[in-house]
Amino acid sequence: MGDRPAKRRFRHRAQGALLLLFFAGALFAQAIDPLPFKNHAEEVRFQQLTRQLRCLVCQNENLADSNADLARDLRREVFQLMQSGKSDDEIKQYLVDRYSDFVLYDPPVQPSTWLLWFGPLLILLAGAGVVVVTIRKRSRSSAPPASNGASANDEGDDW
């Protein structure tokens, strides 16, 4: 009778341990190839950097996630460049020199990408302009007919 709670507690703990093991497995599955990082900060830096770089084989994957052979080679390359004391920007430039700006998920802001970076803003402004013009026109035209009756208003609401 007295050992029942203890047993239950044990079972809970066992379940917890199992669950932990399960998630640990998921964690290790993330690291596709083990690299000898010196410390956790270095690994975090590596992960952040490779997440900003595109795999050229599976072009919708980043270097951190891709299983492609080339991605593995490039991860190793990035790791070695980190070991030799290169900064993130230097490593990015190293890859851009070989594979063009395409390896960067964020294209650099330069004249050829102005439309890409600021195009959406232009479209937004144009849309806002259209809305402002439409509202002004409608408020101007709907003010006098308001006294005429509802029929004029209905027509304005068509679209």
């Binding site: 084989v57 072009q59 851009v96 594979y99 063009s100």
Partner: protein, 180 residues
């Protein structure tokens, strides 16, 4: 008149969409233009496939234009390209240098024995380290290197008879005009 505005907006989108479709039939989305065109080829020192004791380098190849063709026995598209190289390799006017990419030497030799060897010289890059300097991201790829060691043209994907006629041969002809 203002009722037509949404219609014109819609037509604008249709035209944009149609242009997008047309553009993608003309261009390979996967193709990433190399930043190395008209730049010196990266310095490389690689062993020969049939005699690893001997190495070939960028410096040792200076003086004459040549075409580097990246291939591997595991690469399916290389198998498609191979018969074209067997026929056209002799006619392009520059030596064809095989670049065996991330391959087991024995596999590569067996593959060449089975399908034929169009290359005058084959260099081997087993770990693919030098290929990163060349910006190789998928075999087959081909690089036209001029007499000064500058990359003048790059083909990503198999060389086909059409590509050889329309792109490679004109590029080689342009080289021939430069060198007196």
């Amino acid at each position: 008149m203002s009722r037509l505005v949404p219609f014109f907006g819609f037509m604008l989108l249709v035209v944009l969409f149609g242009f997008g479709i047309w553009w993608n039939t003309q261009h390979d989305q996967r193709e990433v233009p190399s930043p190395l065109i008209n730049k010196p080829a990266p310095a490389y020192v690689l062993p020969k496939l049939d005699d690893p004791a001997q190495t070939v380098s960028r410096e040792s190849m200076l003086g004459k234009p040549y075409l580097i063709n990246v291939f591997a026995s595991w690469c399916i598209a290389c198998g498609e390209e191979h018969p074209v190289l067997m026929i056209e390799g002799q006619n392009i006017g520059v030596p064809l240098v095989g670049y065996n990419y991330k391959d087991e030497p024995d596999d590569a030799k067996a593959w060449l024995a089975r399908h034929g060897n169009p290359y005058g010289l084959i260099i081997a890059d087993r770990d693919g380290r030098t290929a990163i300097d060349f910006g190789v991201y998928g075999a087959p790829e081909s690089f036209l290197v001029d007499a000064k060691g500058v990359i003048r043209y790059k083909r990503i994907g198999p060389l086909t008879p059409a590509v050889i006629e329309k792109e490679l041969k004109p590029a080689i002809a342009a080289l021939a005009k430069e060198t007196p």
